[in-house]
Symmetry: C2
Subunit: 399 residues, 2 copies
């Protein structure tokens, strides 16, 4: 029995999605890449901004001695300073370089944070639907997810979070703008959440950390803005990456920011740095650290995503599919058609769409049966061209 | 109690070394950087080879679309192919791209491998002295280290490994050229180890994996060569990085190679890829992957390290310190002076050297009391200039 039991089980349960990707590749081979409408993956097709590319060239040509060498595990100090300035603005809080730790993307950030805070069997509360990788992230470090329902409009249901709190609650993990729904939690909801967490902490003596996973903070539409977290609740931690805002998902660069008022702040920061080192990240990649520091305030051209979003909304409306109004990120979450208000069969619908060469991820993969996620970080042409296929697929789904 | 108990304990036990680094920085501030002989860190001071830098410039200027985007979690296929060609030569085995997984350095590689294979309370055998990070790496994934003694000359003691084998043994982890001793395990030793592991597996039904952590494979002196591992034992895995051979420790780029004959090979590879994804590495950094692929066979100028090694050997000999003949890596492991053959006090000796502005890491940090490690990835001048300080320090250590 050479492979670990946990990993073996995980492999068999995650094989469904891998199978979908493989089938997608096979479909493209058979039908031609332009005839397959692949909305399955959150891999931004936009190129990084010109300023990023120019900075990268400049740094590579300057070729400063030691620029590919070790630095402190938390990152170059000047890079942490630049990130601290941004996070101070985003979160309406005063934070210095010592409150920021550069990370190997948001996935690395979340693993380092969870390793630092989880005791065996500790719980992390998440609202369904959620990014499916959170489950292994918590299990990696001896914790487990406690899944609560969202409000019907997919806003955070603070009462549901409250009902799930216990002495075992190490953290509440939120993701806004949300993958897969595209919802942005409003400031009022965050304030309510903060009040509930503070009351819980005062009553039982353990204040849960609030972890905000926010790689999509920059990608919002129509005047929506993502409210600050670090100033809204003292024991809060933001984890983010430049994967989506600068279209750099392959480079694995992000950061962690800890509220200045967080409980046990010094140990928490030292613990996250220790976790970054010993989980094998060691440090965020050196060249990319320096590169993002110079373009900290750049972002993807959100107007491009907004046009695609609008095209996708029209495509879905025209084919009579209901969906959640997408306020941010680049996902649209649609309700699977069903009879008499029953929960739709998302696996069957996904399979049916595939026959029409449309690829989307069943909501069950995010803990939301009866829904399906489409990623619109693809060309507008692909979205527009899919309109007929959507109409045919939806009209022929229910007998 | 917000920070995890395990991490809190680890922070207090690792504070000794952090304290040493901080004291070193303080010493440099007080006495001037050129008057402090800092042999504490394995951070190569050589610049990456010119071919690496030229390739990096070329790739950045070509600016291929999608070059900072996602690729399969195991890495770009052409990069895996290039690494497979190198590993096939190094390990005298035929291995294809599917047998290689690109990693976030060797530290990321080892964590991914250990997560993939360890069941709760499984054991990983290591020979003392060893790189101190192995302990948290095993603990991260529910396993634990079983530490065995080395031979008196710091070669691997295969009988000691044999005595430690049990049904709980998931892996034997070797590191050759060794940090901290500089020893290279000869082919004969590897063959004996292979025989012992095969006999054990045949007898009990569980074949331990042999994990070779070999970031120093390219850095060897005087005609010594590092024997192949993947062809010597079927259930073997090599983990390596370009940190030392190309002086890129800040960029976190390496790879894992699995023997074609490894037990449960397909699940093992899928499990390591799953671990790479879910531990939060996701993939090795994109630009660096493509860069190392083009200079796979380049290496640091070993002759520079060899000159430093020779200078350090002379420095230690002149000050009457015994040491292990360093065959590879850039560490020299010296015996702490003592009376009547007793085990020397390495903490006291390290503190005493510090008074003479010499920094080295006590052997206890590697599981070897009575020894001290000096890293010679510093300028030859620093080594030569330290000669007088060494003489004075050694002659005044024992009363």
């Amino acid at each position: 029995m050479p492979v670990s039991e946990t990993v073996k089980n995980a492999l068999s349960s995650s094989s469904m999605i891998r199978k979908m990707f493989e089938e997608g590749a096979a479909l493209k081979k058979t039908h031609g890449i332009e005839n397959v409408f692949d909305f399955s993956l959150g891999n931004p097709d936009l190129e990084p901004p010109v300023s990023f590319k120019e900075t990268l060239k400049k740094l590579v040509f300057e070729d400063a001695p030691g620029s590919h060498g070790y630095m402190p595990n938390a990152g170059f100090n000047e890079v942490r300073e630049a990130a601290a300035r941004k996070v101070s603005r985003d979160h309406k809080v005063e934070i210095g370089a010592d409150g920021v730790i550069m990370s190997v993307g948001a996935a690395g950030a979340l693993n380092s944070v969870l390793k630092a805070i989880l005791n065996p069997d500790d719980e992390v509360i998440v609202a369904k639907p959620f990014f499916m990788e959170y489950r292994p992230y918590a299990l990696n470090h001896g914790g487990r997810l406690v899944e609560v329902a969202s409000a019907p409009d997919f806003n955070l249901d603070v009462e549901a979070v409250k009902a799930a709190l216990s002495l075992k609650t190490a953290a509440v993990l939120i993701n806004s703008p949300n993958n897969p729904t595209g919802r942005v939690y409003p400031a009022k909801t965050i304030a309510e959440l903060s009040r509930v967490l503070l009351e819980h902490g005062e009553a039982c003596g353990r204040f849960p950390y609030l972890i905000a996973d926010e790689p999509y903070r920059e990608i919002v539409y129509g005047g929506v803005s993502v409210p600050p977290i670090l100033s809204a609740y003292p024991h809060s931690i933001a984890a983010t990456s430049f994967s989506k805002s600068l279209s750099l998902p392959g480079e694995r660069i992000g950061y962690i920011a800890v509220s200045p008022k967080a409980c046990d702040r010094e140990n928490l920061l030292a613990g996250i740095i220790y976790a970054t080192r010993t989980l094998g990240f060691v440090n965020a990649p050196a060249l990319m650290q320096r590169c993002v520091a110079a373009v900290m305030d750049e972002k993807a051209d959100v107007s491009v995503y907004e046009k695609r979003r609008d095209a996708f909304k029209k495509t879905l409306s025209d084919s009579s599919l209901d969906f959640v109004e997408p306020e941010g990120a680049f996902y649209i979450f649609a309700r699977v058609p069903s009879k008499n208000g029953a929960t739709g069969d998302d696996a069957a619908f996904s399979a049916h769409l595939k026959k029409h060469l449309i690829l989307g991820v069943p909501g069950s993969s995010f803990g939301a049966k009866g829904w399906i996620r489409f990623a619109y970080c693809v060309s507008e042409k692909t979205i527009l061209n899919s309109a007929d296929a959507f109409k045919k697929a939806v009209s022929s789904f229910l007998p």
